[in-house]
């Protein structure tokens, strides 16, 4: 009942917001309903060779299709609002899928008189409800254009690049070149303040190539999932590429850095899955300054004066300018 309630409310909010922001000439209800039924088929993995590029192509097609549909639904929306609406509809779509999958197994359990199916549903229900609540919260944040927890990395980059000249380096990604502790830093983030994650992997790979691999250090900052018992906003350091999602962007960075033997360091700001898609908590916002101190310390310890470093703030930049 609660999942159905969330799904229905999500749909209603989506329709209302599209009408309010997009001011369409016709009723967008049918289009929104069609959007909520979208699916994407993963590429074949029997032959894994080249799967990353096939997956990237599918994701690009999906993204273009979603954006085009939102533009048709909300013709009066500007670029930022279009991005926010797209993300809002994706959250509503996720709520719809969760509800339908749970309903499927519930009806299947009843039809087949299988106590085991019902028991499994009962066991996973608290986790599913948590996830659905997170999406419900995300939907509200996207409707209003509020920064979300996932944007912690983007916030760090935005704080660093403020006041410096920005250029577009990859799709929906901006870069600022600036001096930090006597080094030349290339700071990148998704272009805000609309809901955007961009292609940070593409941007990092391009920067490494443009500098002929002469990059002393790469630092990736992202929101990371915390374990139960850990405090939100804790900052931790490690190695490897802290980029979430389907893995396409992460792969690009790994490939580029391997080719030129560029060390990759990561800084994560811890939060739980609910925080990641809910409006940003104060603890996470405050952690951005702590992360900047860590970046400066890493730069001093791991590079020499005059070196080039790449700093990438990853995450959805909704509600965060630059």
């Amino acid at each position: 009942m609660r999942l159905k309630f969330m799904r229905d409310k999500g749909r209603k909010i989506a329709i209302t917001t599209v009408k309010e922001i997009g001011k369409p000439s016709t009723d967008p209800t049918q289009r929104v309903d069609q959007f909520l039924e979208y699916f994407a088929i993963a590429p074949v993995d029997l032959d894994p060779s080249g799967i990353i590029w096939r997956l990237e192509h599918l994701l690009d097609v999906r993204d273009i299709r979603f954006k085009d549909d939102v533009r048709l639904m909300a013709p009066q929306a500007n670029e930022t609002q279009t991005n926010n609406l797209e993300n809002m509809l994706e959250a509503a779509l996720a709520l719809n899928i969760i509800y339908k999958v749970m309903r499927h197994f519930y009806i299947l359990g009843k039809k087949t008189f299988s106590l085991y199916i019902i028991m499994q549903l009962q066991m996973v229900l608290p986790l599913i409800i948590r996830e659905a609540e997170a999406y419900a919260s995300a939907l509200k944040a996207f409707t209003e254009g509020q920064p979300i927890g996932d944007g912690a990395g983007a916030l760090v980059a935005a704080k660093l690049m403020r006041g410096h000249k920005k250029t577009q380096i990859a799709k929906d990604v901006v870069m600022a070149k600036m001096p930090i502790e006597g080094r030349t830093a290339f700071v990148i983030k998704a272009e805000g303040p609309g809901a955007n994650v961009g292609k940070p992997g593409e941007a990092m790979k391009r920067l490494i190539e443009e500098n002929n691999g002469k990059v002393a250090l790469t630092i990736v900052i992202d929101a990371g999932l915390k374990l139960e018992g850990e405090k939100p906003g804790e900052v931790a350091e490690g190695v490897g590429v802290a980029i979430g999602g389907p893995g396409v962007e992460k792969y690009k960075v790994e490939e580029g850095s391997l080719k030129h033997k560029v060390p990759i360091n990561s800084i994560i700001i811890k939060e739980d899955v609910g925080d990641a898609v809910s409006p940003m908590r104060k603890e996470i916002f405050d952690a951005a300054d702590n992360a900047i101190q860590r970046i400066k310390r890493l730069i001093l310890e791991r590079s020499k004066k005059g070196d080039k470093v790449i700093i990438a703030g990853i995450g959805n930049t909704i509600g965060i300018g630059q």
């Binding site: 609660r2 997170a134 419900a136 919260s137 920064p147 940003m280 965060i320």
Partner: protein, 137 residues
């Protein structure tokens, strides 16, 4: 701020009816127990009283639990604060979030020094979990 994700449905009327009938029966059993006890039938009296007291306790507990679950399902959202800051004179103003706000957005001029103020932060403050409510995220 009104939370659109708060289910407004109350306890199921059938469950409520069952609970009320059980409560009435338990009170009736207690009455019978006292009646029998004072009439000199101590054995029947104590049986009725034990039965009535147990049923009363159990049905009250079920009613309490059901009420608690309803309170728990009410998702309470936290207000979102926007901090507007003047970088020149340091004047700070904290207000509720408004649609269109974003971090580093330039807003109205500062009333003190007339320099454009900017949105320095947007966040929600999460209060400690209280009884009967769930924090979103």
């Amino acid at each position: 701020m009104d939370d659109p994700f708060t289910p407004r449905k109350r306890i199921s009327p059938i469950l409520l009816a069952i609970l009320l009938v059980t409560l009435l029966l338990s009170v009736f059993a207690l009455f019978l127990g006292f009646d029998a006890y004072f009439a000199g039938d101590a054995e029947s009296g104590s049986t009725y009283m034990i039965l009535g007291a147990t049923t009363l306790a159990l049905s009250s507990y079920v009613l309490y639990q059901t009420r608690k679950r309803i309170l728990k399902s009410a998702l309470k959202t936290q207000p979102i604060n926007t901090t507007v800051l003047c970088e020149k004179c340091g004047l700070k103003n904290v207000r509720d979030f408004q649609r269109g706000d974003y971090i580093f957005k330039e807003v109205d001029p500062c009333p003190k020094c007339n320099k454009k103020m900017l949105i320095a932060s947007i966040y929600r403050e999460v209060k400690e979990k209280g009884k009967g409510e769930i924090q979103l995220g």
